[in-house]
Symmetry: C2
Subunit: 312 residues, 2 copies
C-alpha cells in the first residue's frame, strides 16, 4: 500500500520529501530527478533571470511528467516577471520565502497554484496561514542559507509551529537522513524539505569545488553570519572570517553590505571560489560524505525513515 499523508496528497507525490529550491544549485536537472524519484523537486528561481527560469521550466517539463514547483524569494527584484512565467507555464506549486506572503498568495491561487511559504517562527506561520497559504515550511536555525533572527532550532520550532497553525507543516533544517526525517515527523511535521543533502548530487548545478568542500566539512564548520543584515548560514572560509572579524569589531549593517558586495553567492557556489565566495549550506553538511544521484538520496532517506519507523 502506498504511503499517503496531507503532504503527499497536497502535492500529488509519492513521498513527503521536498527538495529545497536553492540558488545556484537546483535547476531543472535536480528538480526533475527528485520529482521523478517520487519527491517534490523545486527550481530555485532566486538566482535565475526571468528567461533562465523559463528555460529551466521547459527543460524540467521535458524531463518529468511528475509535479514540480518553483521557489521564489519574494524580495527578488524582477518578481513580476517570475510570477508571470509561473502562471503562463501552469506551474502547479510555488514555494515563496523571504518576504510577505500577503502580496502574491491569492494571485497565484487564483490560477490554481498551490502556495507554500517558508517561515522561521510560529508568528510568521500564523501570518502565512492568514494570508491563505496551503502549507508552510518551518525552517530551523540549523538550515543553510538565509535564516530567521530568533535562531529557534528545529527541535523547538516544529512542535510550536505545528500547534500554531492548522495547515500542513513541512520541516526544514537539520534533515539529511531518514532518522532525522522521522524525528521531524515525530515533532509534528507532515513532510520535510531537504537542501544541503541534494547539493551533493551530480544533478545539482553547484560547482564541484563546493560539493567537495561539503563532503570534507566537519562539525562546527558552518556558522550563522551577517546577523546585522540578512542572517545566512555559511561554510566557514576566508570570506566568512573577514565578515566575522568586522562583526567582532562592531561593523554596522552598511559596512557588512560593503564587504558582501555583489555576486558572492554565485562566485562561491556556482563558480567554485572557496576562498572569497559565499558558501551557503546547513549544519548537516558534516554528515554528508558522498556524492549520490538525487534519486538514490530520496530512496535512501525514505527507506531509512520507513525501516526505522517500524523498529521504534
Amino acid at each position: 500500500m502506498q504511503y499517503q499523508n496531507t503532504i503527499t496528497k497536497l502535492f500529488n507525490i509519492q513521498y513527503p520529501i521536498i527538495q529545497a529550491g536553492m540558488i545556484w544549485a537546483s535547476g531543472w536537472r535536480l528538480a526533475s530527478a527528485v520529482s521523478n524519484a517520487g519527491g517534490l523537486g523545486l527550481l530555485g528561481a532566486g538566482s535565475m533571470y526571468p528567461d533562465v527560469l523559463k528555460e529551466h521550466i521547459l527543460k524540467c517539463k521535458a524531463n518529468t511528467n511528475k509535479p514540480f514547483g518553483v521557489n521564489i524569494p519574494l524580495l527578488y527584484p524582477d518578481i513580476e516577471k517570475h510570477i508571470e512565467t509561473i502562471i503562463s507555464q501552469k506551474i502547479p506549486i510555488v514555494f515563496t520565502s523571504a518576504g510577505n506572503p500577503k502580496i502574491w498568495t491569492k494571485i497565484l491561487q487564483d490560477h490554481g497554484i498551490i502556495v507554500v511559504h517558508v517561515v522561521s517562527s510560529s508568528l510568521f506561520a500564523q501570518k502565512a496561514e492568514i494570508a491563505g497559504c496551503n502549507a508552510i515550511v518551518a525552517e530551523g536555525f540549523e538550515a543553510g542559507g538565509h535564516n530567521g533572527r530568533e535562531e529557534t532550532t528545529s527541535m523547538v520550532l516544529i512542535p510550536q509551529v505545528k500547534e500554531a497553525v492548522t495547515i500542513p507543516v513541512i520541516a526544514a533544517g537539520g534533515i539529511a537522513t531518514g532518522k532525522q526525517m522521522l524525528a521531524a515527523m515525530v515533532l509534528g511535521a507532515d513532510g520535510v524539505q531537504i537542501g544541503s543533502r541534494f547539493i551533493c548530487t551530480p544533478e545539482a548545478s553547484s560547482h564541484s569545488n563546493f560539493k567537495e568542500a561539503i563532503l570534507h566539512s566537519k562539525e562546527g564548520d558552518t556558522m550563522l553570519s551577517m546577523k546585522k543584515t540578512v542572517p545566512v548560514r555559511l561554510l566557514k572560509n576566508d570570506f566568512y572570517n573577514t565578515v566575522k572579524n568586522a562583526e567582532n569589531n562592531g561593523a554596522n549593517e552598511e559596512e557588512l553590505k560593503r564587504i558582501l558586495g555583489r555576486g558572492r553567492a554565485k562566485k562561491g557556489m556556482f563558480e567554485g571560489d572557496l576562498i572569497e565566495g559565499e558558501l551557503e549550506v546547513g549544519q548537516v553538511s558534516s554528515m554528508i560524505k558522498q556524492i549520490k544521484p538525487a534519486a538514490l538520496v530520496v530512496k535512501e532517506i525514505w527507506d531509512e525513515f520507513e525501516n526505522f519507523k517500524s523498529k521504534f
Copy 2:
C-alpha cells in the same frame, strides 16, 4: 514489563529521564522529587559552597532512597572540596561539565562512582570516552545556560555524537515534552537530560519571578549571549540588551566580563531580579506554560513518550 535500556541500567532508574543539575535551581527538593518519580535527580553543585553541597546531599538522602547524582562544573574554584564530599558521601553518580574530564574521571571511578561528562560536539564526546567516562550528555545549541561554541543543534548533534562514541548518549537541549524525548531517542539518544522544564516546578529553588518569566516567555525570547567569553543562553532582559549593545559595538572579552561582573546569575535566578540579573534557560522556555510538581513533569513526559512511540 518495566522499560529498560542502557541508561536505566547504568543509573539503576526507572525512566531514562535525567533532571539537569542547574545552578540556583536544583537543590535537594528537586533532585529527590525527580529520583522518587523514577528519573535521575541531580544536585547542581556549581552554585553551592562545599558545606552547602554537603547539606543538600544529606537532605537528598533523607528524602529519597533512590539513586541521585551531583553535577559539578569542572572549573568550580573549590572543586577538590566538592570531590571530597562526593566521595565521602558515597554519591553513586557524578555529571561533570565545563572542563577537561581527564582530571577527575578515574579518581571518581576508583571510588565506584559513575561519571558522565557534558559535551557539545562529537570531538569532545570522543575525548570523554577516551578519558573513561561511562556516558556522555550531548548538549545542543538550544539548551539553556552555558553552551558550546560550534552552535550545533540537537537535531544535527545527536546522530553525529551517537556515531562517534560507543558509550551511551544522553541528549540535552530542546527537550521538554514526550514528543521531543521521542525525537531525541529516534536521533540516537539513549536517554534525555531536561533542564528548563524542571525549573517550573514548586521543588526548584529558583525565584518565583524567574519561574513566572519562563511561563510568560515567547518564541525567540532566549538568545545565546557572551560569545566572546563563555557562551550562555539567556532569557532576554535589560542585562541581555546591555551585553548585546556592547557586543554590537565591538566590546572585547574584558569589557564583557566587566559588564557581567559577579553574582549576576544568583541575582537573576535566585533573587528574582528580572531586570539586571542573568536568567539562564533554554529555547523550550516558550513551551512551558504551567508550574507542576516535578513528579508530574516526569510522568507526563514519560506517558507522552510511551503513547506517542506506540502511535508512530
